[in-house]
């Protein structure tokens, strides 16, 4: 017998089983409050009996059985007392009373639906008739199995307050006759988002825990993750559920890195990335993949998770794909159009394209009533202004931000930055660019030093706040504290724009560089447009010098640069740059800075049709179903399609690399996991058969003596060699010859890219496709991702 304390065992078992037990009981008795009382009776029985008789062999089942027996007893009493009354479990009781079935049979029959019952219980405990606080408390109590005192400690409130909340919640549910069901139709989406909101609130409460807090607080993160994973299991087709799980896993992966040795918060870009938990990151990516597989349009949680994934993927802060993050924010703004998300987007834009791009967006937010009094708005604005060398204005913004924050540590940081700006503004005629960088550095060192002095109750990893944290999703104003370094996040001088932005157009006329920055900073440009235009104009700056006055830039000069830079490029590339220059020229002409005819000598070039047009989905479905296709080919093709991996990777797989239950295989030379889906999963066991080792895909014949392959490419079971790329390619071409309108048959490369194209059509974003397919660069995926592209560059 174990030496563990029986009380602790009861508690542990109860936490593991409470959701199932309570859910099963609600189904029987039709009332959440009563179900919970009956369940507590079972816990009391365990507390009485286990210390004496020992912990039963299967304690979970023991609790379940006792609880259900209590429920049956209760229903029998009810039945006797009030025969006429109709109850949810009427039939159940009568069948028991009739002696037609043994109680255990009835209970057994109920077990099959336990999962559905847990889901119903989650929907009920997050029902909109309850206040948010009540939803949180009830969910933790019923689904998480937390005791009242644990919830109280976790939320820093008194135990009696929590108890009151739960009692009132149960009464409210009964009064409103809330049915024990999973809502359907349009109601389902709204109710599900309420469930997600509750889980994410729990997570964030734990996330905001700091050193010295009761340990119950940080453990709320794990509780929320657990709730999320349970929910994901029960609703595998809901993309947002997987998105929330992914978001929480990725945020949690940083938990060891986001506080310093004295408990002070460490902002994202200063975190030691080696301390991020790779296990949780992997889980986060996996959840994100499942979200994409669920295929719904991208919702706020999926998008926030994708943003977190961008950070997780960057080995150093400098490698962060800010353009991608900015693009994701743009998508997020569309589904979650809050000013705070906009502000975060501005920060991302500044990181991606320089402070001016961010500032343009920030300016549009200054009138937002929701941001009135929100200190981060002036803090971000001040930071961007400082980076642009506009120190006088920056100082005023920092002063304003300092007067708005209630957190002493933050105020100190902001005032210090204001002072720095004042100094900078005082020192005229020195190289402003250098100083802008220094000012940024001073600010960077700030918060981390000072925040530890603050009570900093809510100071968390503000990268999250910057990324559109919980508060926004929950539709509440962001908490003031805890965002101390969002402003700081724009400071690293990683973007070239930060250096050059401070220069002004010479009096002699507007320079190319200055005009370019103004052009790119116009409101309403998508991140992709900015990136695309930026490529073109930066190249012109490089060739002609950014100080060249626009009026000196002739169409002849532009044409020379174009010929040198893209003279031999594909037609589409040439045309994209041409369109960018035309757009720039007509804008500059409106301001009277340049002639609109700047791009006139550049002729549009023909664009041959895309190299790899996707193969039609229905053709592929037909291909999989062809009865005459051998198992090996069918498996390989499906694997390539489902995993979107390069053919040579799939062919390099050995039997021992496969993780069949995990539906993945490791490409060891690449350190990449190739992931497949149900189609491949169904075929692989047949293909592998009894083989334990050696190449997965084998050639038809044994190799001749003159062409003996390496041992690693030989099957130890059959002596056959590994299927070669050439042969695999030939077989696929031959099989698809009749599908290909050009008659040559399709290549394996085309098959892979068809998958990417199809996923892109289904709304996958670049990071998702990259992690699935092993593409190292987002650029090579551009054709597949439906990131909004500037219309005039495509034409």
């Amino acid at each position: 017998m174990t030496s563990l304390d029986a009380h602790a065992v009861v508690d542990a078992v109860w936490k593991m089983e409470s959701a199932r037990i309570v859910a099963g009981l609600v189904r029987m008795v039709g009332d959440v409050g009563l179900a919970e009382e009956l369940a507590q009776d079972a816990v009391l029985a365990a507390l009485e009996q286990w210390p004496e008789a020992g912990v039963p062999d299967n304690p979970g089942a023991w609790l379940m059985t006792i609880a259900k027996r209590r429920a049956v007893d209760h229903l029998r009493r009810e039945e006797r007392r009030d025969r006429g009354q109709e109850r949810l479990a009427h039939d159940l009781v009568t069948s028991v009373d009739d002696g037609a079935r043994d109680v255990d049979d009835v209970l057994g029959a109920l077990d099959g639906e336990v999962g559905d019952d847990v889901l119903r219980l989650m929907f009920v405990s997050c029902h909109p008739v309850l206040s948010t606080e009540a939803r949180v408390a009830l969910t933790l109590r019923l689904i998480g199995g937390l005791r009242t005192d644990e919830i109280a400690r976790a939320f820093l409130v008194s135990e009696s307050a929590v108890a009151q909340r739960i009692v009132r919640a149960k009464r409210a549910l009964a009064d409103a006759h809330v049915p024990f069901e999973v809502p359907s139709g349009p109601e389902r989406a709204a109710r599900l988002s309420s469930v997600l909101e509750v889980i994410y609130l729990v997570f964030n409460e734990g996330y905001s825990a700091t050193a010295g807090d009761d340990l119950m607080r940080p453990s709320l993160c794990l509780e929320a993750l657990r709730l999320g994973r349970v929910l994901a299991e029960l609703t595998p087709d809901e993309a947002e559920v997987h998105g929330l799980v992914a978001l929480m896993e990725l945020q949690q992966s940083r938990s060891a890195a986001r506080t310093g040795p004295s408990g002070e918060p460490v902002p994202l870009h200063e975190q030691s990335r080696g301390r991020w938990d790779p296990l949780l990151i992997r889980r986060g990516f996996a959840a994100l993949l499942r979200a994409r597989e669920a295929g719904a349009p991208l919702g706020p949680y999926v998008l926030q998770a994708a943003i977190a994934a961008c950070h997780a993927r960057a080995a150093t802060p400098e490698e962060t794909d800010w353009p991608q993050i900015a693009a994701l924010y743009e998508a997020l703004v569309r589904v979650l159009p809050t000013p705070v998300v906009q502000l975060n987007r501005a920060v991302a834009l500044a990181m991606a394209y320089g402070p001016r791009a961010g500032l343009t967006l920030v300016e549009t937010l200054t009138g937002e009533p929701a941001l009135k009094g929100y200190h981060l708005l002036p803090a971000v604005r001040g930071d961007l202004l400082a980076r642009l060398g506009r120190h006088g204005e920056a100082r005023a913004e920092f002063d304003r931000a300092a007067s708005l924050t209630r957190n002493a540590a933050e105020r100190a940081v902001l005032l210090r930055r204001a002072a720095t700006c004042a100094e900078e503004a005082g020192r005229a005629n020195t190289a402003k660019a250098v100083k802008a960088v220094n000012a940024g550095r001073t600010g960077q060192a700030g918060p981390a030093e000072t925040v530890n002095a603050a009570k900093a109750g809510k100071s968390g990893d503000t990268a999250e706040a910057g990324e559109g944290g919980p508060a926004e999703t929950a539709g509440q104003p962001p908490r003031a504290a805890g965002r101390a370094d969002s402003a700081k996040r724009v400071t690293p001088a990683a973007t070239p724009g930060g250096r050059t932005g401070g220069r002004r157009a010479a009096d002699a006329g507007v320079t190319l560089g200055a005009a370019m920055r103004l052009f790119l900073a116009r409101p309403g440009l998508s991140a992709d447009t900015v990136r695309s235009y930026n490529q073109t104009l930066s190249r012109l700056c490089r060739h002609l010098g950014e100080d060249i006055p626009l009026r000196d830039m002739t169409s002849h000069l532009a044409a020379e640069v174009f010929a040198a830079a893209w003279g031999t490029a594909a037609g589409a590339t040439w045309n994209r740059h041409r369109a960018a220059l035309r757009s720039f020229a007509s804008w500059a002409a409106e301001h009277g800075w340049a002639a609109a005819s700047l791009a006139a000598p550049l002729d549009r070039r023909p664009e041959p049709r895309a190299r790899t047009r996707p193969i039609d989905r229905s053709l592929l479905r037909g291909l999989w179903e062809r009865p005459e296709t051998p198992l090996r080919e069918r498996t390989l093709w499906l694997l390539l399609y489902e995993s979107a991996a390069p053919a040579e990777w799939a062919l390099s797989l050995d039997v021992e690399d496969l993780d069949l239950p995990g539906m993945r295989g490791e490409v060891r030379t690449r350190g990449h996991w190739l992931r497949w889906q149900s189609g491949t999963a169904a075929l692989l066991p047949l293909l592998v058969g009894d083989r334990r080792r050696g190449p997965l895909f084998l050639a038809d014949r044994r190799p001749g003596p003159g062409r003996m392959p390496a041992v690693a490419d030989l099957c130890p079971h059959t002596g056959r060699g590994r299927l070669s790329y050439e042969r695999a390619e030939y077989l696929f071409k031959r099989a698809t010859r009749d599908l290909d309108p050009e008659g040559g048959g399709y290549t394996l490369h085309r098959l892979r890219h068809s998958r990417l194209a199809h996923l892109g059509e289904d709304g996958w974003s670049a990071p998702m496709l990259m992690s699935l397919s092993g593409h190292a660069s987002a650029r090579s995926l551009h054709g597949f991702v439906r990131v909004p592209r500037p219309a005039d560059t495509v034409a």
Binding site: D11, K15, T210, V230, R275
Partner: protein
């Protein structure tokens, strides 16, 4: 908190029913986020001894077969009791055998105020 579960001894031929039950258990635990990593270990392995700046590498096996660790599982549980309860479920499927459940210390166990 995380726990490392290890099992000792040679594996008698597991029957198909047991393998299926174990497969379902592992899958359930993985999806629930409880099981973080699991795997079987080769018998023996390589022994490394570092002494006075000198590192000696020897091929195994070294311990008696029944003493060697043959499989492990890294699990995330709320308490030691929960970890033990999960281990119980595991052993109910496996049948006879022997193993340990050990707490894996994380950043939260660092001395001083530490992270959070």
């Amino acid at each position: 908190m995380r726990f490392l579960m290890t099992t000792k001894g040679t594996d008698p031929n597991p029957d198909a029913a047991m393998m299926a039950e174990m497969g379902a258990f592992i899958e359930e635990m993985t999806r629930a986020g409880v099981l973080l990593a699991t795997g079987g270990l080769e018998p023996g392995g390589v022994r490394m001894v570092s002494s006075a700046g000198e590192i000696t590498v020897t091929d195994g096996p070294f311990t008696e077969a029944k003493e060697a660790i043959v499989s492990f599982a890294l699990i995330e549980a709320r308490s030691r009791e929960e970890a033990v309860e999960l281990a119980r479920r595991f052993w109910r499927i496996v049948g006879d055998g022997e193993g340990t459940v050990q707490r894996v210390f994380g950043p939260e166990d660092a001395p001083g105020p530490g992270p959070r």
